[in-house]
């Protein structure tokens, strides 16, 4: 029998329906793979074998009775940011030590409603703040990819590094992830997987640990474009519990796969050709343009003049919102408490011990830019710049552009403990230079693997779409995938 963990969701679903194997068998295959690989990859911070097998057993009964849901019996990994009832939910932070919520996030509840099986919780940067998964309290995740002829450990990107690594190494069929500045698309780009951040308001944020509420969106990381479409359909919903969730019915995204891109207008923004970008990124971008042109799309040059201001504006807006959201971790209601001589001392000691360096840095920046006398100069100005960034995109779409093609990341995967990155926080922030604009404008963006660099490491392309037009992204993303092929790491673990 073929290795069950190598099957995509679409393939596994078809075989489960035929009765070629059961969900319990499929789930066991994944649990064995996790046991063998996780000491090396560190993608999972908590594996839930008993719960997984229980859910798989129920799924098998539903399949047998002809009542299978769209994800019936499919084993998934869940980013540690999603509240899962009675199961480790810590945003990979020390400050949430021992937290096991008494409720389920809307996104994961939707997945269980559709029959999915939970394998466990996935590693991530602490509170989703990072682009390398190195800020996790549970240690770095190793990218399943290594450069040719090298045994150096590389980062999988972040913050959804555990999700991307687990999907790439076949440690789950697909994973949930979240994206505030690029945390789905950048790790997808660095691991040869597909990741989509849907339009702001498409997936409910209820029960997802908040980082920057006006930017946070959940989405899937999957093996291929079709699986990403299948996942998003289940994850997305209109939710009374999230007032920013938008009242638009969730379409059957999978139906967009294979539709022609003939006549689609694809915009190429010159502002995304940045200084110091690897030549190979440029080459892969040119290839993407050719593939879409060959498939019948019309390629047009566009201008998004405020692009360079997206990252600095993000580093005001996101920390400001984070400093407010993370005020709740005070040692009183959940998680870690470090005793102090009075209540303020207890707060301060708890937060000093519970938050890692990057999180503290961002809380401090956020507190500073919101403090008296600085609010207008920083926060208000950044929100105005955000309006301008969004307007750039709106003008492009008004001029008939259907989607925008850009690189997903400015580089391939880099080393764990990279000294350059460690010495200057801004260097790490640059990882999100191509993805952060999309969050600032609330738009959907997909990252699709497009090739390997000379070291044999994956590179991704990003497609940006109109609000709630994820279907066009799946359609065009599939064309890129068909042309580029798929990429899997050589197993070393």
């Amino acid at each position: 029998m073929t290795d069950l963990t190598s099957l995509t969701i679409a393939q596994a679903r078809a075989e489960l329906d035929k009765g070629s194997f059961t969900s319990v068998e499929l789930t066991k295959a994944y649990l064995d793979a996790i046991e063998a690989a996780n000491p090396a990859i560190n993608a999972y911070v908590k594996v839930t074998p008993e719960k997984a097998l229980e859910m798989a057993d129920v799924a098998d009964t539903r399949i047998a009775s002809g009542a299978a849901g769209p994800l019936e019996g499919i084993p998934l990994g869940i980013k540690d940011l999603f509240a899962t009832e009675g199961v480790h939910t810590q945003a990979c932070s020390h400050i949430l030590d021992g937290f096991e919520p008494r409720y389920e996030s809307t996104v994961t509840a939707n997945l269980w409603r559709d029959g999915a099986v939970m394998l466990g919780k996935l590693n991530m940067d602490e509170f989703a703040m990072g682009s390398s998964n190195e800020t996790s309290y549970y240690g770095a995740v190793r990218n399943p990819w290594r450069a040719k002829g090298s045994n150096m450990d590389l980062v999988p990107g972040g913050s959804s590094g555990g999700s991307a690594a687990a999907v790439s190494a076949n440690l789950c069929a697909a994973a949930t992830a979240t994206d505030t500045g690029g945390s789905i698309r950048q790790p997808a780009g660095l691991t040869g997987t597909v990741g989509i951040k849907p339009t702001y308001g498409r997936c409910s944020r209820w029960g997802t640990v908040a980082f920057a509420s006006s930017l946070d969106q959940a989405g899937p990381i999957a093996r291929d474009v079709r699986d990403a479409a299948i996942m998003l359909r289940s994850m997305a919903s209109v939710d009374e519990k999230d007032t920013t969730s938008v009242d638009i019915a969730v379409p059957d995204y999978e139906a967009a796969i294979g539709q022609s891109v003939k006549g689609l207008k694809i915009g190429i923004p010159k502002e995304y050709r940045v200084d110091g970008m690897a030549e190979e990124i440029d080459e892969v971008w040119s290839k993407g343009i050719e593939w879409l042109r060959d498939a019948g799309a019309e390629i047009v040059d566009i201008e998004l003049p405020h692009t360079k201001y997206a990252l600095p504006a993000y580093y005001i807006v996101a920390p400001a919102e984070a400093s407010s959201n993370l005020a709740r971790y005070d040692g009183v209601r959940y998680g870690l408490r470090v005793p102090g001589k009075d209540i303020v001392d207890m707060y301060e000691k708890t937060r000093a011990a519970g938050f890692g360096r990057e999180v503290q840095r961002r809380i401090m920046i956020g507190t500073y830019v919101l403090s008296a006398g600085y609010y207008d100069a920083y926060y208000l100005r950044a929100q105005k710049v955000r309006t301008l960034i969004k307007r750039d995109f709106e003008l492009a779409f008004e001029n008939g552009v259907d989607a925008i093609l850009t690189p997903a990341t400015p580089s391939a995967a880099f080393g764990i403990g990279d000294q350059d990155m460690a010495s200057d926080p801004v260097k790490m922030y640059m990882q999100d230079i191509f993805t952060v604009t999309v969050n600032m404008a609330g738009l959907p963006g997909i990252s699709v693997p497009a090739g390997l660099d000379h070291k044999g490491l994956p590179l991704g392309l990003q497609l940006i779409g109109k609000p709630f037009d994820e279907e066009t992204l799946f359609r065009a993303g599939y064309v890129i995938e068909q042309a580029a092929g798929s990429f899997k790491p050589n197993r070393w673990w």
Binding site: Y309, P312, R333, D342, Q383, K384
Partner: protein, 95 residues
């Protein structure tokens, strides 16, 4: 704009994060690197531009003003470090 040690300590106080002198010195450099990076926003002409309040234009949803949830005291205190009879326990606040 940049921050000095005194400002770093004041902000840490506002953020309720205990900061040693050593941490404050390190944080000063890191915060100034970030503030230096965001400084470029000052070159953007934002006159007459509305600050963004909602990225997707939509009317604020309102729910009916009725009790729709509750009776969950046990759930609410379940994860607290210290409780007694469904109350959160904290160090003495008022003498």
């Amino acid at each position: 704009m940049s921050v000095d040690q005194t400002t770093v300590k004041r902000v840490a106080k506002l953020a309720r994060i205990a900061l040693s002198d050593e941490d404050a010195a390190r944080m000063e450099g890191e915060l100034n690197a970030i503030l230096g990076f965001v400084e470029q926003l000052s070159e953007v002409d934002v006159s007459g531009v509305e600050p963004m309040t909602s990225v997707m234009p939509m009317e604020m949803k309102k729910r009916h003003d009725v009790v729709s949830d509750g009776g969950k005291a046990d759930d609410i205190v379940a994860n607290a470090p210290e409780t007694t009879d469904n109350y959160f326990l904290v160090p003495k606040v008022v003498e």
